[in-house]
């Protein structure tokens, strides 16, 4: 991946032939730090501002509340939540949004520094960063309390220290890599592949290589077998392979369709270059993990974005026979990526929870006995746990293990017959029902549970706009 200054100049000259965009490209390249800072400010600021104006909680997404809930009480089997526990106690809840923001900004700065240190070509760094920062999955990960944003920060910091000239720092990187193994097993495997590749190509000290890999490997095993960390965290959303991969298909995160197309080009073009074959291994690991659990999208997206970057470089490294077509293609790519990002920013604030949901769930905390189980959509389970401090029927990420509860939920939501619904509610001791706004959007109100709520055995005890709490007697 190292290039000489002469090669860099030659490639930059080729780019300069694209008169329409070349001067802007040069300007952006020169001021890329400012450019990325501005993009970060916009893509991270917009959703947060929107939530702020709507009085909705700044912290979004079920994963955020999953971590916040589990960090409330520390014991030996979740000791890795201790830093978050400290922060929760020391800071007001609304300020905790600073955690993912700081991690995101720090990650970007570390990446830029790392790119310089390992002599990555400027345009590779530029396009990779531009695609990454504007990708919906990065935006979403950066404005929610996501384990992957912490993992990303730790791994980048680890590599930054690993590439330091000082031996002490290089050995200190082991600590950061060790911390990163406490996310989940698949992420640790991903990191292992990265480390192994780095050591293979960089021919670093054998001792450091051995210790680093051994520590990572051992901790991964320990965390999986002893601490029983999951293979993968989540899922926190319904698993839909394509929509979660491609943000334009309505996923919670994902990458733009254009990025995917560029990545396909990159995959085909890079195959000829042996030095990039390790990225294909990473891609395979990523795809395998993603199919198993779509929550792996963030790490998979990093690999895809790398291929997309190479795709862009391949497309524009030489002048096309039809020069105008090359310029228009570049323009369409920019417009397409911009469009995907802006569309995503427009809908991401609906991720939840809304102010009304938070209000209703907080009411539950204050007015309902502690041992009460709350029935609602599985996706709301984390909000229920955190805001109301009550038990949901099951946590969404346990859907695979709790298939009977999943079926029960589906039956209760869709059955219009009291003779089916009432015995099920009684048998499972479900007397508190939280009707989230999503239930009203998804299910018709003239059928299923929403229809049965008209029965006298149900009583509305609290509501705020579209969020409601019903009691079943």
């Amino acid at each position: 991946m190292n290039t000489t200054p002469e090669n860099n100049n030659k490639n930059n000259k080729t780019f300069q032939k694209m008169d329409l965009l070349s001067k802007y490209y040069d300007h952006l390249l020169t001021h890329k730090n400012w450019c990325f800072s501005l993009i970060l400010l916009i893509v991270l600021g917009m959703p947060l501002l929107s939530n702020y104006w709507q009085n909705s909680p700044l912290i979004m997404g079920p994963e955020s509340y999953y971590h916040l809930y589990h960090a409330q009480e520390i014991s030996w089997d979740n000791f890795y939540y201790w830093p978050l526990n400290l922060l929760q106690k020391a800071l007001p809840e609304s300020t905790l949004i600073l955690i993912p923001l700081i991690l995101a900004v720090a990650s970007v700065l570390i990446m830029l520094q790392l790119a310089k240190r390992i002599d990555l070509p400027e345009k590779l760094t530029f396009f990779f960063m531009a695609l990454l920062i504007s990708s919906p999955i990065f935006i979403f990960t950066s404005i929610t309390l996501s384990a992957h944003s912490l993992f990303f920060f730790l791994v980048l910091s680890g590599f930054l220290l690993l590439t330091s000239r000082l031996k002490v720092f290089r050995y200190l990187s082991i600590i950061l890599f060790a911390l990163a193994t406490f996310i989940d097993t698949f992420s640790s495997i991903f990191m292992l592949v990265l480390q192994a590749t780095y050591f293979y190509y960089s021919h670093k000290e054998k001792v450091l290589t051995t210790i680093c890999l051994m520590v990572t490997f051992s901790l991964t095993l320990f965390n999986y077998l002893v601490l029983q960390l999951p293979l993968q965290l989540g899922p926190f959303y319904p698993q839909r392979l394509l929509p979660e991969l491609v943000s334009d298909l309505g996923g919670v995160g994902g990458i733009p369709l254009f990025t995917l197309l560029l990545a396909v080009i990159g995959v085909f073009m890079m195959w000829k270059e042996k030095k990039y074959h390790w990225t294909y291994l990473l891609l395979l690991v990523g795809i395998g993990a993603y199919i198993q659990n779509t929550h792996f999208i963030f790490l998979l997206a990093l690999v895809i974005i790398f291929f997309a970057t190479m795709g862009i470089i391949y497309l524009f490294k030489n002048q096309w026979s039809i020069e105008t077509l090359q310029q228009f293609t570049a323009l369409i790519l920019i417009l397409g990526l911009l469009f995907s990002t802006l569309t995503y920013l427009g809908r991401i604030t609906n991720t939840g929870p809304s102010a009304d949901e938070a209000k209703v769930l907080t009411w539950l905390k204050e007015n309902v006995p502690e041992d009460q189980t709350i029935f609602s959509l599985p996706e709301s389970s984390y909000y229920i746990e955190y805001f109301s401090n009550k038990r949901p029927l099951f946590e969404y990420q346990d859907s695979e293990r709790e298939k009977d509860k999943v079926n029960l939920t589906q039956t209760l939501l869709t059955s219009t017959y009291a003779s089916i619904t009432f015995p099920l509610l009684e048998k499972n001791n479900l007397s508190m029902i939280y009707i989230a706004p999503k239930i009203k959007q998804t299910y018709p109100n003239d059928k299923g549970l929403l229809f049965l709520l008209k029965n006298e055995r149900f009583k509305l005890v609290y509501s705020s706009e579209e969020a409601e709490v019903w009691v079943f007697k």
């Binding site: 254009f258 039809i322 293609t329 417009l335 397409g336 995907s340």
Partner: protein, 495 residues
């Protein structure tokens, strides 16, 4: 082009056009799905904008479609009445396929007789004989062939510009343009496997086409993609009827609709090109055939549409077959047969294709004048805003002729609970129980119910058992019956 060839080509074009126009005017009215497009063109004519917020369909809904076809026809509607435009212009578009097939065949074979025969086949391909269909496909098919022709002539600057224009128009006409892109992909793969170099201009055009198409679709269908995801391909069609839109590919049906001679000739040419001669020009056409077949096989493209496109390509491939056949005959012991080959071929084609084409045209599913009159009567004799229930295809007649909200039609995109709605519609026409019917009618705020002879035939019923007084008053009965709903269901007291 030689004078004689020009005359023959013009004759084929005129013969095709005249045949189509005669059929279009003799067969009454349009196919059911045409009325959606008629309404859109009318709206653009009146307001300049497509009807993306439709107050009548499903009693109010949002819809999304590519509007170029509708804008183009709206332009013509300023010159002549809309119904005349709808009969004449699409048939002109489809007839132009003869010229385009000739040009592409000539490019590939450089042989006039072979190319003229291809043009003749294209002019009478049974699957293309939807003379009363006012749909986007009537523009899409000739435009696609034009784009292919321009692509084959790419080194010339003029054709580059024409290709770009035609591709942009295609991307604004139909999402089926993806067919071309997949064809390009297969073409690239085939060339790579056969170690044939693709010209740089072709590669660049393919890339540009891909990105342009994706961008335009994202712009128009952003909301549909977010709501429906990848199922956007299947247009939210209710699962109960998806088989009729994406039926299992039937080879026999395909052979009948594209006619057996071009089908067999096409197979032969594909075999020759892929395994023996390996002509790169033919690779592109074969790639398009593979793309069409694959998409239809995997239910990603409507069967009828894929067959239309398939038929047009087969017509082109026939030129190559005829040319090879003529060359072969010349080398046999009976070279004198070559003199009669054209006549023999034409005779066989006329006997096998033309009757099938005419038969296909006659079998088009169009409403009768009597049925149309009933829907027109509704406009004059019912209050505006009164919702009317009819069968699924007739939903567009309700909105177009009656100018009333319908219960359901075949534009399913962005409609919630479409499966349930379709079940309810079927129940209305099949149930024996008045309470059940009244429940559905009341839930959906339907005030009038239409029972046409087509509906009776579709459901195999003579009458609907529950349509009795006092709840259902017959207000129209001239073959088609219209009922006014007079009752509501009330809750009974609980004991």
């Amino acid at each position: 082009m030689e004078k004689a060839t020009r005359y023959w080509l013009t004759a084929i074009f005129i013969l095709t056009l005249v045949t189509r126009l005669v059929l279009a005017f003799v067969i009454p009215n349009f196919t059911y799905e045409s009325y959606f497009n008629l309404r859109q063109v009318e709206h653009i004519h009146d307001t300049g904008l497509p009807l993306y917020q439709d107050e009548l369909s499903y009693n109010g809904r949002e819809s999304r479609f590519l509007p170029f076809f509708h804008y183009l026809l709206a332009g013509f509607s300023f010159l002549m009445p809309l119904e005349l435009v709808a009969k004449i212009i699409p048939n002109i578009f489809i007839s132009l396929i003869t010229i385009l097939v000739y040009l592409i065949s000539k490019k590939i074979t450089n042989n006039d007789p072979a190319s003229l025969i291809s043009a003749f086949i294209a002019g009478f391909m049974p699957v293309l004989y939807f003379t009363n269909s006012f749909t986007v496909e009537t523009l899409f098919l000739p435009l696609t062939l034009f784009a292919i022709y321009c692509f084959l002539n790419i080194p010339e600057r003029k054709y580059l510009a024409l290709y770009l224009v035609s591709f942009i128009v295609l991307s604004l006409t139909s999402t089926s343009t993806v067919l071309i892109l997949i064809g390009f992909g297969i073409y690239t793969l085939l060339s790579y496997l056969e170690q044939k170099q693709i010209r740089n201009e072709e590669k660049e055009l393919m890339l540009f086409s891909l990105f342009l198409f994706v961008w335009l679709q994202l712009l128009f269908f952003k909301k549909v993609l977010i709501n429906e995801g990848i199922e956007f391909i299947w247009q939210n069609i209710p699962p109960q009827i998806i088989q009729s839109y994406f039926p299992e590919v039937s080879i026999l049906q395909a052979v009948v609709l594209v006619s057996v001679v071009p089908f067999l000739a096409g197979l032969f040419v594909v075999y020759q090109s892929l395994f023996k001669v390996k002509s790169q020009r033919l690779f592109l056409l074969i790639s398009l055939v593979i793309a069409t077949t694959s998409l239809a096989w995997f239910s990603l493209l409507r069967f009828n549409f894929s067959l239309s496109f398939f038929g047009a390509i087969l017509a082109i491939l026939f030129a190559s077959f005829y040319y090879d056949l003529a060359e072969y005959v010349s080398k046999t012991k009976f070279p004198w047969l070559r003199r009669y080959l054209l006549a023999i071929t034409l005779s066989v084609l006329i006997l096998t294709i033309v009757p099938l084409a005419l038969s296909t045209a006659w079998k088009q599913d169009t409403p009768t004048n009597q049925e149309i009159a009933a829907f027109q009567w509704l406009e004059k004799n019912t209050p505006p805003g009164a919702r009317v229930a009819s069968t699924l295809p007739e939903g567009h007649l309700v909105t177009y002729y009656s100018k009333r909200p319908n219960f359901m039609d075949d534009q399913f995109s962005l409609i919630k609970n479409v499966k349930q709605r379709f079940m309810d519609l079927n129940t209305l026409y099949t149930t024996k129980f008045q309470t059940q019917a009244l429940n559905i009618l009341e839930e959906n705020k339907v005030q009038y119910l239409v029972l046409t002879p087509s509906a009776k035939e579709k459901y195999g019923i003579e009458k609907m058992e529950y349509l009795t007084q006092p709840c259902f008053q017959k207000i129209y009965d001239l073959g088609t019956r219209i009922y006014s709903i007079k009752c509501n269901l009330e809750e009974t007291m609980s004991i």
